[in-house]
């Protein structure tokens, strides 16, 4: 892909901020926001940002009151157009949440539990105001349990179907018992204004794949925190595919709690005119000898298509022997689209196997097109060949053939809609 522009923090902030380094936001106190709340319309990229000394120090709380009302100047909200959240960050979340229907594997247990159930809060603590609001608002949760030493006899399909546009909250728990093995697909579609918490508990030696597909209606708003706790020697794969919705903001995280575990996190997003698709990841290497790989790929087409990818990787002092690499690539198919890409790596120990990241955002490359056309391939076919190839790398990670086929088809439709 054309790596003509390498978007990072520095190039996104033409008004260079003192104390800003490529390694992250080590903001000097000069840049603490001095604007009075509400007086300045926040503009992405150069608004003063409230500093955070380390990603590991971000406030976590089950109590909504601990989170100040959002202004858009917070580091983790600075790219999000708050006025398009349709009240998820301000209003009571009293709308009807999308209906959850679980099918597939016969040896996986599905329960609807009261919020007092001990499994709620077993893997996650809200890290932002919307997640905390959703936590406070739900009365019940859906809990999926893959019992210990059980291999799910087929995929677990969790259909999340929305029909109400009023702001609502939802809570899901996926509990993969010790040495279990399963693939769980969260399939989001329909109408929604949804604040969602998905807790994922991957116990020792378990092997779990969670796929979260966002194919919402055009006007849907979805803010989802998908936090996973990864036990000793566990394998966890998380795949997000976001195609539909007006504003989709996902915050997937993986926290290692025992040594020897491996995490792969993949993402594919395709933003059309006006869509805001945001993903903010955290991989928290808190224990030794774990491995993580993050690969997110995005395509954008049309005016004001906006994607955001922020990938935080934290290697704590105790996490010796860590091996991590994260990459984000974006392909701008037309003028008028914008992609922000910010990889952050914080390393507190030098005794690691490896740590790296890469980010590239480029336009469709005329030389690719010339090469393919010089072999007789018509322009339209050539463009599709390149985009399909670019995004396929993520789709083929899902491992559920029928879903892979459906999503490939959906990508084709996106390309057709964009006249590519």
């Amino acid at each position: 892909m054309a790596e003509t522009t390498n978007v990072d923090e520095m190039t996104l902030n033409p008004t260079a901020i003192e104390g800003f380094s490529e390694e992250g936001e080590s903001l000097s106190e000069l840049n603490a926001g001095t604007e009075q709340l509400g007086l300045k319309k926040h503009s992405h990229g150069n608004a003063p940002v409230i500093p955070e000394a380390s990603r590991g120090e971000r406030l976590k709380s089950y109590d909504l009151a601990d989170f100040a009302p959002l202004t858009g100047q917070e580091e983790d909200w600075r790219f999000t157009p708050l006025k398009r959240l349709r009240g998820l960050h301000t209003d009571p979340l009293t709308g009807t949440a999308p209906t959850v229907t679980v099918t597939g594997a016969s040896n996986v247990r599905t329960e609807t539990v009261e919020r007092t159930d001990s499994r709620i809060g077993s893997a996650a603590i809200p890290e932002d105001r919307v997640a905390a609001a959703a936590w406070a608002a739900v009365a019940t949760a859906t809990v999926l349990t893959i019992p210990a030493e059980t291999i799910a006899d087929s995929e677990v399909l969790v259909d999340v179907s929305g029909s109400d546009s009023a702001a609502s909250a939802q809570h899901l728990v996926i509990h993969a018992g010790r040495f279990s093995k399963a693939v769980v697909v969260l399939d989001h579609h329909g109408k929604a204004t949804l604040a969602q918490n998905v807790e994922i508990n991957v116990e020792d030696g378990a092997e779990l794949t969670v796929v979260s597909v966002q194919q919402w209606d055009d006007d849907a708003v979805h803010v989802s925190s998908q936090q996973a706790r990864i036990g000793r020697n566990a394998r966890y794969k998380h795949v997000v595919v976001t195609l539909g919705g007006d504003l989709v903001r996902l915050t997937p995280s993986s926290v290692f709690t025992g040594p020897g575990a491996e995490v792969e996190m993949y993402g594919l997003y395709f933003a059309d005119a006006g869509q805001h698709l945001e993903q903010r990841l955290l991989v928290d290497h808190a224990v030794p000898n774990c491995k993580s790989r993050v690969t997110y790929k995005g395509a954008l087409q049309g005016k004001d298509a906006h994607t955001v990818w922020v990938g935080d990787v934290l290697i704590r002092k105790a996490a010796e022997g860590t091996d991590t690499y994260e990459t984000n690539r974006n392909l701008l198919l037309t003028d008028g689209a914008r992609s922000d890409s910010v990889p952050n790596l914080e390393i507190e120990t030098g005794l690691i196997e490896g740590a790296g990241h890469a980010s590239a955002t480029g336009r469709f490359d005329d030389e690719h097109l010339f090469y393919l056309m010089a072999r007789g391939i018509p322009e339209r076919t050539a463009r599709r060949l390149v985009v399909r190839g670019f995004l396929n790398e993520v789709i083929q990670q899902i491992g559920v053939p029928s879903l892979e086929e459906r999503l490939s088809e959906a990508v084709e439709q996106e390309l057709a809609a964009g006249n590519l």
């Binding site: 490359d365 393919l372 056309m373 072999r375 391939i377 190839g389």
Partner: protein
């Protein structure tokens, strides 16, 4: 028999300093079965001629014509030119991430022929052609040119030449960056395709080295966007001994006069 005819071609490119003429009146006729070598110093316009024939958008044709069996090539899009039978083996083949060689070759073949090749024969043909060019079988599953060495990229260009059977092949410095072994392998590939008798070849090169393996019928020397001299294979031998200095001196003298 086919004829590729270039008449009084004037080509320029846009640079930051403004429009810059590169080709200043080139005329050349190539017939099926002929091998023409175009030689010349760097910057003489050899590669511009190759890219212009293929239709690279960077080059503007200001006057003159290119025709293939009487059909106007200049009004064709890049892909139409390829489908008309023109093939450019590129000097710097680009990497196309996410597109496997297998998929690319089949898509191109389908576009060129107007129908998908019979799967069984096609797979066999690709395998055989790769074997002859000593390209590892695993290249088929790799992305187009991605991570290939310079020599591997050139072999893959010739692989396409052998699979697509063009009417005219334009080889743009295919020899540059090749070691002796790779040069032999690549030259054999060109000769194999040429010997079928259905192709005309325009071989663009800076050095005479490749002409030891691919014997030209005609040699044209490019200097400053024009053909300064032409002759048979013996002209290449003379260039090998004398280099391009003779032409450069003339040019300098002309400027001074």
């Amino acid at each position: 028999m086919s004829t590729l005819e270039i008449k009084d071609l004037h080509v320029s490119i846009d640079t930051e300093q403004g429009n810059k003429p590169i080709l200043k009146g080139v005329s050349l006729t190539i017939n099926t079965g002929e091998i023409h070598a175009i030689m010349g110093p760097n910057g003489s316009g050899k590669s511009t001629l190759a890219s212009t024939i293929a239709g690279h958008p960077r080059y503007t044709v200001n006057s003159g014509s290119i025709t293939l069996d009487g059909e106007d090539v200049l009004t064709m899009s890049v892909d139409e030119r390829a489908r008309a039978g023109l093939f450019l083996a590129m000097q710097y083949p680009v990497e196309v991430p996410g597109v496997t060689m297998t998929n690319f070759l089949r898509t191109a073949k389908t576009a060129l022929d107007g129908e998908a090749p019979s799967l069984r024969h096609w797979t066999k043909d690709v395998k055989a052609a790769m074997g002859q060019l000593r390209i590892d079988a695993d290249f088929a599953q790799r992305n187009v040119n991605e991570g290939f060495s310079g020599g591997e990229k050139k072999r893959v260009e010739i692989l396409q030449l052998e699979l697509f059977h063009p009417k005219f092949a334009i080889l743009d410095e295919t020899d540059s960056g090749l070691d002796v072994d790779a040069l032999k392998v690549v030259s054999e590939g060109v000769n194999r395709e040429h010997s079928k008798g259905a192709m005309g070849t325009l071989l663009i090169t800076h050095y005479t080295r490749i002409l030891r393996y691919i014997k030209p019928d005609h040699v044209h020397v490019f200097v400053d966007g024009r053909i300064a001299e032409q002759g048979g294979a013996e002209l290449a031998d003379r260039l090998e001994e004398e280099g391009y200095d003779r032409f450069m001196v003339t040019e300098t003298a002309a400027v001074q006069a």
